[in-house]
Symmetry: C2
Subunit: 340 residues, 2 copies
């Protein structure tokens, strides 16, 4: 086998929306494995909005990347060599290895064996990976959604949002409304079984449109967008309402201190609201059980999945940049190597 | 007995900080009681910052008062007449009767019999009333404070804040820091047993001073002030930190939309923060048990109480206005009638 590999590294920390100049492709030599390390060949990478928070300094769950470091991201790989008793050559795995043709897993951190091939392998870094698990634990652990409640999901055509809305329906929500941009995305939201889709590009008064879509208001806001969206929805939340801070894609490219602020905070007391953020790795111990339940919902057709496919490491920067320009539509998966 | 009584009513809804012109004293006739009604003679009234939210339109847990309606507030009363089997003539009660020399309790709503006279009667609308219960349930139900955690309390010289800090110490908090304005208030905060008091008037960089007062940060922010304070503290919260939205005294007089915004929301994901508001009447079923426990802490000296006393219904507007000018210091109690 070859002992060199290519990877995408940080070339220059961006100040706003990342550009092609943010990234650089490098050739690197692959090391000999130490104890507990595993070498994987990447089959699929994903473009994750959360990666943005590591490209420049700011509040994040992890420190910012240095110039020259591999860009963060999830991938599906095949184990080529293993010095780790938990993984064998030929195993298919999902891991947080970054944008690279090969990954050396250090022995600790997130790497999960994919238990079966009944579903597309890419799902393990999509609907059964971080986006899907974020939807699952955001609704179950954070929002503690109850049957009969009303749910609003923002960025509802995206992989977290579309999954969240479908899980909410499966949990017995009385009404699930999704916000998305443009007729095509709204059509997909409706097709995914949401009770209503609101096009934020078509409705100049978004708050009024959201109220019309659920005249009794909302018990849960599952938000993937950020402050301006949350602030507009707060007045529509019912007593005891919960805001799940799942993502802040509209705010990631805004420097700290310049983000739009939450001003409708009087409702936190008046309506007894609760707002809570999550990083899904806190729920790692529950992934297997959740993946089994959610996998069954996918196999039964209750949860539909939409992916956008790209090919080759060279496609990664554009696939990622498109997450912040409204171009993304479903989970963005980049095929980097052939399936075994 | 007299069949007329005086009360303070809304004369003109204020646009900013209330003034004397906001209020008017009226003489009213007392009605004959209908079934389940109770007539009380007021001994003590309290000046409550939460009353501000009912003086003009905006997000509140209750609709705004109309011009001519009695100003909302809590009082201690003696039952003069009763058409309600739960209350007898001579009972001492705490109720939400408003700023009035006599109150006709309608038969439903908040009216609680005061079970003993071992503590000053005014405590039942102070440390054992809404402010104290807000502190209690804010820490126990909302923050779910655990022993060993670090707590920051704002407006710490006030009746909610001072009680919250002392309850936190009694619950085994490792460090309890209070924010107050001026040396005299900070001296009282220290005397109340807080580990440190930070004077926001003396420290131009409040965030740095708060970090110095607890170098490991804070697990719980018990906030009585509002958005600007919360936004400054968010970066100091530890992973899993909780913000109790107890009061927003700095924001009550700002029209909706003009409040300072919360901008440091990236930390909600990065630090897995939770922010939740409370209206203590949701915890009414737990008042008796909490009052018994907290009463014991007061009798033992573990919780100290500070009151400011005023006399006569005429003193109510100034006592209330002072809550928003930084003049208040401890619970503001207005004696309206003599104790039996």
């Amino acid at each position: 086998m070859q002992r060199t590999s290519r990877r995408v590294v940080l070339a220059a920390p961006p100040t706003g929306v990342p550009t092609r100049e943010t990234f650089r492709i490098e050739q690197v030599a692959l090391p000999t494995l130490s104890d507990n390390q595993v070498l994987t060949r990447t089959l699929y990478c994903s473009a994750d909005p959360g990666t943005r928070s590591r490209l420049s300094a700011g509040a994040s769950y992890a420190p910012p990347l240095k110039v020259g470091e591999t860009i963060d991201g999830f991938c599906v790989g095949e184990v080529l060599e293993s010095a780790n008793p938990r993984f064998a050559v030929g195993d298919l795995v999902a891991l947080g290895g970054g944008w690279a043709e090969h990954v050396v897993f250090p022995g600790r951190g997130y790497m999960q064996k994919i238990p079966h091939r009944r579903l597309p392998l890419s799902y393990w870094i999509g609907v059964l990976g971080v986006p899907g698990m974020t939807a699952w634990f955001g609704l179950k652990r954070v929002a503690q959604l109850k049957a009969g409640e009303r749910v609003l999901v923002t960025s509802a055509a995206g992989p977290v949002g579309a999954t969240a809305g479908q899980i909410a329906k499966a949990m017995g929500a009385a009404r699930v409304v999704g916000v998305a941009g443009g007729a095509e995305k709204c059509a997909w939201v409706a097709q995914a079984g949401f009770d209503a889709a609101v096009d934020y590009k078509a409705d100049p008064n978004l708050t009024a449109a959201l109220l019309a879509a659920s005249p009794e208001g909302y018990d849960v806001l599952f938000d993937n967008v950020g402050n301006a969206m949350i602030d507009g929805v707060i007045p529509l939340l019912r007593p005891g309402g919960r805001i799940v801070v799942s993502g802040q894609v509209a705010d990631y490219n805004t420097p700290p201190g310049q983000r739009p602020g939450l001003t409708n905070t009087a409702y936190f007391i008046a309506s007894r609201l609760r707002m809570e953020g999550l990083v899904v790795f806190d729920d790692l111990h529950g992934f297997s059980a959740a993946q089994e339940e959610l996998g069954a919902l996918i196999e039964s057709g209750a949860v539909k999945v939409r992916e956008e496919r790209f090919t080759g490491l060279e496609a990664m920067p554009d696939a990622f940049i498109g997450l912040f320009t409204g171009a993304a539509f479903g989970r963005r998966i980049i095929q980097v190597g052939a399936e075994p």
